[in-house]
């Protein structure tokens, strides 16, 4: 059963890899390029195949062998697209590395990264073995929905029964099974059970592991590609060194998969802005759409990405020109987004955050000052305790940022570099106001979700920060140049006659 489950994951990986490769610009191949593509492949593959399972089930009322057949067809289409693209494009192998010498710093960071990765992997395995059904939200939302999809077959829509929600609505928290939540994680689990020929607890743990470690791999590799090896290793280390990130991943919550798609979107948009290669834009659109197919918050993040992209533009363009310029983004996000809309319109009940909310009630909450104080305090407390670090990591990073300084490039470069962090800050502001508007008991809502919600943004925040900061090499070079300038100035002062 384990091998068949792993086989199902391998098929998803091939689908993802072929799709990424088909749209990936092949002009300059570097090992970090390959690493980024590998990191993207599993998540995108799982996302695409979860859409196919949902559509198969909703149209034909069964999955099983049909899902596997559809997977194979998508796989072949992806491989064909990749083949066409690779024939058209010209491979240019990377020239010999200009950074062949391994510095002591790089070696130390490499060793530290390996150690953190090993501890995180073993810890993840231990937590998964201890709680194979995951944390409460995992088994009562994602794995429960997976059971409806897999066991229910043509009657899978029973998961939307008001009877299921009714019992729970007597609590202040509302229906805990969240029947309106999108199905990427649940459908991925049900899909692997189809491959395995039965339910295995290995499937949800495997999916959780793939998303957790793909996120770390993506963060590291995309920064290695865009900035430097040391910068990538540092960011990857901070993420892998975040105990709550590993623990939430092992809890099988959908926050880590959403974090993966948000990071992938920002990283691909950055690569597009640097190269103007439309493949990146298409892929960014698809990862943004898959984020919306993962969790409701993904829809908000998608809107935030578009908002920042359209507003923060160095040369203001007319709306039509902006739309034309970002057409690839919309094309990429269309398939998953249409699936989300179909799911929401055809099947899902209204979300408990908006259902039955009158404008008056919302307005009252928005103008209640004490809510701002409560939410503000909760956000500030995260500065001290975020990620379950034994030191306040945000302060450590602030100290490190002061030491190495920000990248001094100006103009478009500066905007490109600061766009991801700007997006994260806007998303965080969005979450702040979601809490202000929350119809639930505020202390309960903050206590049960704020750390998870912020974890959705954490990998992207690290990407944005380390993109913006000087790499250690840049900081040292800057200091050397400054030192030389100071020395020359001193010499000039001591020997003015020479001039």
């Amino acid at each position: 059963m384990i091998f068949r489950t792993a086989g199902g994951l391998a098929v998803a990986f091939v689908i993802g890899f072929a799709l990424v490769a088909a749209f990936w610009p092949l002009q300059r191949q570097r090992w970090s390029d390959v690493a980024v593509r590998l990191a993207l492949a599993s998540g995108i593959g799982l996302g695409v195949s979860s859409v196919s399972l949902f559509l198969t089930l909703s149209v034909f009322g069964k999955s099983g062998g049909l899902t596997i057949f559809v997977d194979v067809v998508i796989c072949l289409i992806g491989l064909f697209a990749w083949w066409l693209e690779s024939r058209r494009s010209q491979y240019i192998r990377a020239t010999t590395s200009s950074q062949s010498a391994i510095s002591a710093t790089k070696l130390f960071l490499g060793l530290a990264f390996t150690a953190a990765f090993a501890i995180a992997t073993i810890g993840f395995g231990e937590l998964s073995a201890l709680r194979p059904h995951g944390g409460p939200d995992a088994w009562y939302i994602w794995n429960l929905h997976a059971r409806f999809l897999f066991r229910g077959q043509d009657l899978w829509t029973d998961m939307f029964s008001p009877l299921l929600a009714n019992y729970h609505s007597i609590r202040v928290t509302g229906p805990v099974s969240k029947p309106d939540y999108p199905l990427l994680v649940s459908a991925s689990i049900a899909r692997l059970w189809n491959y395995a020929g039965g339910e295995t607890l290995f499937a949800p743990a495997l999916i959780a592991g793939v998303f957790t470690f793909s996120t770390a791999a993506l963060l590291t590799s995309v920064l290695v590609r865009s900035r430097s090896t040391t910068q990538g290793l540092l960011a990857g280390l901070v993420l892998l060194g975040t105990p709550a990130f590993v623990a939430q991943g092992a809890s099988q919550y959908a926050d880590v998969p959403l974090a993966f798609f948000f990071l992938a979107t920002l990283a691909l948009l950055y690569l597009y802005d640097c190269s103007q290669e439309h493949g990146y834009l298409l892929l960014a659109g698809s990862t943004a759409g898959l984020g919306a197919w993962t969790k409701n918050e993904g829809l908000m993040l998608l809107v935030v990405v578009l908002l920042v992209r359209f507003v923060a533009n160095p040369r203001p363009l007319a709306l039509r020109a902006m739309l034309r310029r970002n057409a690839g983004l919309f094309v990429g996000m269309a398939p998953p987004l249409v699936t989300v809309i179909y799911f929401k319109v055809r099947f899902a009940p209204p979300n408990d955050m908006v259902a039955g909310q009158g404008l008056h009630a919302i307005a009252v909450r928005v103008v209640t000052l004490s809510r701002y104080v409560t939410v503000g305090k909760a956000f500030v407390s995260q500065v001290r305790f975020f990620g379950d670090w034994f030191v306040p990591i945000l302060l450590v990073l602030a100290f490190y940022a002061l030491l190495v300084g920000g990248n001094s490039r100006g103009g478009d470069d500066r905007l490109r570099l600061s766009m991801p962090l700007m997006t994260v800050l806007v998303a965080m502001t969005g979450y702040f106001f979601v809490y202000i508007e929350s119809p639930h008991q505020l202390a309960w809502h903050l206590g049960t979700s704020l750390d998870r919600v912020l974890m959705q943004l954490w990998p992207s925040a690290l990407f944005g920060l380390f993109l913006l900061l000087n790499t250690p090499e840049e900081a040292m070079k800057t200091s050397a140049v400054n030192g030389l300038t100071a020395l020359m100035h001193e010499v000039e002062t001591l020997h003015p006659a020479h001039h």
Partner: protein
């Protein structure tokens, strides 16, 4: 000299961040290895209920709604234990479990033997006792 000092500080800063990251993940590691209390940990409880209710699932129809009864509570709150209800719903999906005895099949989840007169008041007929307080009743339709 100043530049050299700064270079060292940058290098030390990067290494410090790396070291703190390794220590941060390492300091939680022993906690992850230690077993939590099986009575309070949802992850362990849900596994136990999932195994316990597997035989019940075989005796029920593959779809539809089943009722649920639990111990009679002496307090004003007559809701069953919220978490136990959730574990059972999870175990029995895609069946929908409703906190009511007014269904053709009713699941019993008891911590002490149920009193016969209460069961007859609820018009429940025992179909099967699975042990450990897990029972299946025939109830009355709504």
């Amino acid at each position: 000299m100043a530049a050299l000092g700064f270079t060292l500080r940058v290098r030390a800063g990067a290494l410090l961040v790396a070291l703190l990251a390794v220590l941060s993940i390492a300091h939680r590691f022993p906690e992850w290895l230690s077993l939590p209390s099986p009575n309070t940990d949802h992850g362990i409880q849900v596994s136990a209920f999932d195994s316990q209710f597997k035989p019940v699932l075989r005796d029920l129809p593959s779809h539809g709604t089943v009722g649920y009864v639990s111990d009679e509570l002496t307090t004003g709150d007559n809701r069953p234990s919220f978490w136990e209800f959730c574990y059972i719903q999870y175990a029995l999906a895609p069946l929908i479990v409703v906190d009511s005895p007014e269904y053709p099949f009713v699941i019993g989840n008891f911590h002490k033997p149920p009193q016969a007169n209460r069961m007859s008041q609820l018009k429940l007929t025992l179909l099967k006792n699975y042990g450990n307080g897990v029972m299946l009743f025939r109830g009355t339709s709504q």
